[in-house]
Amino acid sequence: MILYTAMPSEWIYQAEPSEYAKQKVVNFEGIPLLVEFTSGSEYRVIQVMSTDPNDFMNENIGPGVKITLS
């Protein structure tokens, strides 16, 4: 089948089940974070999911920062 479309492929094809396992919501020092697994016990912060504006000012958990979870 050939699909002629301008839509990105990830909108058309279903994601691999393993993709779902990559991301998770964790509680890091009392702040809920959406993280992505990188390696070992290291995770990369994707989104800060707190409602406290102060948490967004915390440079240690900004998006892109790598954190270590035990």
């Binding site: 990830e10 279903q14 994601a15 993709e19 779902y20 990559k22 991301q23 919501v25 809920p32 992505e36 999911m49 707190s50 409602t51 406290d52 504006p53 102060n54 000012m57 440079e59 900004g62 998006p63 892109g64 920062v65």
Partner: protein
Amino acid sequence: MDFEMNGNDQEQQPKEDKQSPLMEKIQQLGQTNVPQLSQDSKIHCLTIVGQIEGHLQLPPQNKTTKYEHLIPQIVAIEQNPKIEGLLVILNTVGGDVEAGLALAEMLASLSKPTVSIVLGGGHSIGVPIAVSCDYAYIAESATMTIHPIRLTGLVIGVPQTFEYLDKMQERVINFVTKHSQITEEKFKDLMFAKGNLTRDIGTNVIGADAVEFGLINEVGGIGPALKKLEELIENNEQQEGLVQ
């Protein structure tokens, strides 16, 4: 420190183990420093972004608002005496009706002052969430698409399905008309309007139009919204003072 931004050089250079903290910060946040807030903000900020995720988990590349995650946060905001007001920022394409209505009901029943701002877009099920707050703002360039409820994919055309969808739609219409100035007739008119959306029925209301229809209270951004929230908090405190 020298900052030669030579693309070729950077790619060829082996990754250094120890990057300068400044470089690291630029890579992480895209900026060098972040403004500091004074401790203990009494206003919390809830962001409704991307798709509103319902019973089905969306693939990770989607930006989603997870209602099972937001609801405990709203509970915590209600319970925490230090938090005096909530600012809701919307930029959503919509999503699950039940999850969206759940969030809207939670926000509407919050005893603390709430102000919402629609930035960019507050489409479909974002409409009830925007109107659920005590006062709603919309940015001048922001839009809200009002359209009938539908299922994505194949719709089985049997009367039961139709009735189920119709009842679901009633719930949305009731909520919106109850929490904003818009009349049921007007809202339904916008919902079933023809010719506004390509090959679809519904209306895309922009900034000032949303205010004109009575859906949103005022056109404005973060400044007026925070001012309004402070005002509501002050009123709230005065009322509490009278009760005690």
